[in-house]
Subunit: 434 residues, 4 copies
């Protein structure tokens, strides 16, 4: 039997708290899960620093990747014998689903921002490069790895397959909403996935939703909206991301100016120089990052030491609302006041903005790559969701942005220049409870 | 207001997936949670390597510690105005609950076994030593830290308070059964805690259970039994523990014989020498351990390198049932055969035994410190649980032990001495599917 | 001890699938639950005929009434020691909560429509009339029954107490959304009630919501929206309500014109004559109604017999969308065609409209009695919810109405005048799948 | 296409709170559900009077029957392509599952006891008699109805098919444990059905369980044990059953001795005379029974009137433990004392015993028709469950019986012969809290 069609002697299952069981029958999938590159995802949290806000959110990207695979498996199972669906694409979909997040590094959000990296680029590299994952994929047939990479990159010619993995209502989103809800324990994030799976229909170039399932989709979209603002953009999490970002900035800055580290940032140097390769990248995980942060608490550089200690011991920055239209002058004044009392505003007075994503969702068509959700009406016509749904229509056009100003309240309180601190506090308190 | 009575301006809550919310009103509790020693528990998994079997089990001891605190808080809340209950003991109970696992290190089970340590000893040390936790506690009143330590050590004179934290049906067990069940996703581990809390009654020297709640307790005991054999003693988890233990053994062995490491085991040296102090211990967490394991994959020592690579990439040992009564000869023969093909049986042929705990539970009285569960009958008499419950009585006397023999199947398959390997396999396969 | 303050020897609990436990400590509450008038609610389904669409929805108003009581009990528990809250109002709130639906009769919706009755009127009557419920209440203090009645009628001078029982986010709504969701099994209807209860704050004249809980309230409002359209206004349920209404109409019509019944409609005669009294009303329950419907399957009047048989055996009417603006002519034509083939359009061609409620909700102020939901901002200011919430604002102004035309498809198919039937079908099918 | 193979144009689903969705594809199943005989099950509660103890338990046998059907559907789905499984038996299994409880009448337990009936007999009659159900079944092929009846009667030659419907771990038990747990809200009754379904294997003459699933089966058996004693044999429910039984006894007694009823017991007369036929039986449902009970509250016979009023308004009997070995004399004395104060002990002093079922379960082999549960070991051998499971073995041999003595405490308290009543109370109170 060709490797491609090889089935496990007996179906394997993973116990999964979200989907109850993850089922594996294909040898390829089993072998991919066993690769070091995939196992590495166990050492990277799905929600980065969110566990500092919601202590339950300690789950890894390994978890989520299995979940996305399982959802796609169930969708495809329902597609059997449906028009437009080609059973030959099954393995392509399953592999793309399993591997779609493979390139994530530790604390991707902050890390990528500082070092101008892109985890999607690395997902591609791991799949097509000289890796165990690539070797397993290429055993299916030569060129298969490239196909999988293309699906994930949304450049594959089979639009139906692409839409299963990346669209406004894809397996990725359906898994993370439910999974992140489960692990954080929030009451948002629930919707009737079983029903959505049952009303999904393959068409020539996308998955559409039978109109009878519209309300389940509405519920999914509201879940997504709530999860963004209640969990993903939680201001406390953003505080920890601010600190994380500043640590990376500081280390790079120190390295660039020739600072002598007690513990050299060996794992990061190629990134500082923009010379990193795939192997450098794959060596990174959260344990590595934590190790350095732990050790750097003993560096002589006070900023680095302080930021690391804050991150490790969760002594986060406080925040106030920040309105960029009204407060630019205030900000400039604060920067000067911070300088006056020798607190470096580059590291200790930070504006962070969150915006867009959930609303973007409801305005399909604006960004070229985002497919709107289409309903399949009883008369076989397709209609874009927001045309049919009052609720979705209502929140479609609304862009929402939230700006906050972060700063170390404790540090201010301990500063000896009480007078200046009082000035700062007066300015900040106008914005609300600190 | 005395620090002891100081309440937070507004109640703080943690969203908890198991208990929905964890409520904090006392300034002391809030300050304890913020200490570095307590935050360190975020970097230590509640179930060690179990996540390699149940991928959801990535939750930390931080999680669990908050949960135990919350359960005790709810028990005490119900105790208000009950005879025998002294509201003055409230803070003592809450602190002991929160801190009872404070001394756990990374992968305690294996680590303690190899280095002859005891996390309970460290819990005591952290509470009474020169730590932030100690400073917070001593602000309640001088000597309070010692009282908390005594409660956790079960040496405190107030037996009622001790029994809340450590007994056959304490807050610790009630939290971990539910929490581990939640995160692994297994269907065991459920029982009606709300009802148990409502039927708990303080007496002079212990918490007892109103007899109308007996069935909820039965359910709890069955949950415990199932969790032990289905989750805690899962043979795949034990495989990873075997490897972990052998890594620690190997490193110590190499260090002792003067091996030159590429990465010196700096964090471990004091442990090798039995000279470790509290600061050495507190520096350990799972990130540190993972960092070394990652790096040691590149050591020249093949055993160390192989074991680390196995652990990191989850290439675990396989196992067969092992009956020590019948198989000692078989084992000795296997040891010789392994030596013949140059696979060191000290590291690659390991018997692991699990036993006792759940059954011990139902035979109270044998070990001095274990209190049986007492039912409070309608006539106010106390009766030991197994006298009243058929189910508990039935499983009370049954000690159960499970032995397994672990070995690297892949390594055998790749060995060139096919003939010897076949002999080994023949011996092993008699014991069942490998 | 005054009856008013009398506590049960030991707290009683009811196991409740929605709130886990319902707790009763007050003798008054316990005695009210035991009255025949309250027990009667066990024989009236919470959702009328909805069980014909969602088979799980067989729960009674007894269920729901306990649930509302329990929620109010929890709200009040949180209010203890808060400004504006007077502990003396506790019993008033609890009794009003428990009894607020006491006047519901069997299939209220249809029954009241046909006989021009109002269950709220009967709730008042049962509380102030010569009933067991009244006797229990009056033991609290003379005039207490009237106070309870006033709270339910929203005429009581204590606006805070009234708002607990009847407002846009009262205990009634919070219970039924969750309960109906639980029993139907739909995935809508979930929200974080525990959080809402914790952010509720008493003010002088209403309960308001701390602004930090706004998102939980948004979720509640979306739940309500989805429940209305997915469950309460489900077109199949409306089909059974149409039949029910027509049965009552027919019986009255037959009685009025002197038809000789095999089984006299004894229980209904006073209602036909508008002479019913409280005792007549209290004798009604669903068992009585079902008994008559069962028996009337054997009446000689074909319409009555057919409608009863349809209801009992769930042979419901089919429906098509109906647009009153465009379809009045169509309807008139259909009426004529029905007459031509001797199917009485008064009973067999029915327009049913559902509308308003959920949207009304978000437009507070229009109807005098509806209080908007107010948020308590950090600066202690009150702000109306839709000013702060994008989502709520978005759906606030949108009135939605749904009209459907119901008819017996089977009867048409069996009619001998094939030609006319074909015409009818052609007209109907234009409106969509029948 | 033959009716037998006819599929619905589109799969139909029922929203089910326990199994999420019940799926129907076969025209036969759809048509069976629509028959009056099957719809009648909506008017008969699954747990009889249990709703008087657990208010949530208002679900009907209709509910449960759909659930059993759905479980069998899922089992069979897993059987596809397995050895020993014949896809031709699919419809036979599904119909037997759906219809297995068709013969249940209102309050079967009490009703059958008094009138010496057997619902299983009626299930057979409805399937093979002149009913709509029979007509649908016979359209599959002539004789099919008889085959379905044989499967339910366990007399069908295909033992594998029989074991799916009736065995120690059949779809019936799996549904009711979960369903009754869901609706009562108790925390017992949970087990991992999904896993059990996956480890079920067809053999020539029964369904067996792969040994890897043993612990899920243990959990199921413990669930069953807890549900029996916590829910099904709850002493309060038994109190209502006692009253129910006595009502039926009284009515028959009155009828036999020529009492003149205000409301003739028309529906019951053929049962009194042992002349009932299938049509008489099918006319019964709980609404009918309630109607009579309601009306009989106004009869002149005091016993009948009182018992009906008790049942309707839930004024139940109280109880004390009763040990038949020690208390026969006590009982005889009580009977005399009751007579002395003119309370008829035939109706007001009742011993009720519950026993056996759950334990029976664990002693397979004793009753000819009960198949033990067999595990399929890795070596393909079959082993009886209690040989492998400590827990099951432990509770296997233990028969448990519970006797209680029921009586109307209120009636005693109101009796004027205080002295005798005091004697009675003294005797009863020795047995425990009344």
């Amino acid at each position: 039997m060709a490797y491609k069609d090889e089935q496990l002697h007996e179906e394997k299952v993973f116990k999964d708290p979200v989907h109850r069981y993850v089922h594996v029958r294909d040898r390829v999938i089993w072998d991919l899960i066993a690769t070091p590159e995939f196992q590495r995802l166990r050492r990277i949290k799905q929600l980065g620093t969110t566990y500092l806000t919601f202590h339950g959110a300690e789950h890894s990207r390994f978890n989520h990747s299995l979940g996305v695979y399982e959802i796609v498996r169930r969708i495809i199972f329902n597609f059997k014998d449906r028009k437009h669906w080609n059973e030959q694409d099954r393995l392509l979909c399953l592999c793309a689903a399993l591997l779609h997040d493979l390139g994530h590094g530790p604390f991707s959000h902050s890390f990528e921002k500082v070092f101008k990296l892109d985890h999607e680029h690395y997902t591609q590299q791991i799949i097509v490069g000289d890796t165990k994952v690539n070797h397993v994929l290429e055993k299916v047939y030569p060129g298969f790895a490239n196909e999988v990479a293309d699906v994930i990159a949304k450049t594959h010619s089979n639009k139906l397959v692409v839409s299963l993995i990346s669209s406004q209502i894809d397996a990725d989103r359906m898994d993370y909403l439910q999974r992140d809800s489960y692990f954080t324990g929030v009451s948002y994030g629930h919707f009737d996935m079983e029903r959505i799976l049952r009303v999904m229909r393959p068409t020539e170039d996308q998955v559409v939703i039978k109109s009878t399932g519209m309300h389940a989709v509405e519920d999914y979209i509201m879940s997504r909206y709530q999860m963004y603002w209640q969990v993903y953009f939680h201001p406390v999490t953003r505080s920890s991301e601010v600190i994380l970002t500043k640590i990376f900035h500081r280390v790079k800055h120190l390295y660039d100016k020739g600072y002598i580290f007690k513990l050299e940032p060996t794992h990061f140097i190629s990134f500082f120089k923009n010379e990193e390769n795939l192997q450098d990248y794959l060596k990174l995980d959260e344990a590595i990052v934590y190790y350095y942060f732990q050790m750097w608490q003993e560096e002589t550089d006070e900023v680095l030491q302080d930021l690391c200690e804050r991150f490790i011991n969760r002594r986060l920055f406080k925040y106030v609302e920040f309105d960029p239209n009204k407060m630019m002058n205030v900000w400039l004044e604060l920067i000067q006041l911070f300088k006056n009392i020798r607190i470096d505003p580059d590291y200790y007075l930070v504006v962070d903005s969150s915006s867009d994503l959930p609303y973007d969702f409801y305005r399909p068509g604006e960004e070229g790559e985002r497919l709107p959700i289409h309903l399949l009406m009883p008369n076989q016509e397709l209609r874009e969701l927001s045309r049919e749904s009052d609720v979705v229509e209502a929140i479609s056009g609304k862009k929402r942005t939230d700006h906050k100003l972060y700063f170390p309240l404790d540090m201010l309180k301990e500063n000896k220049d009480k007078e200046t601190v009082e000035k700062i506090m007066a300015i900040l308190q106008i914005q609300g409870d600190v």
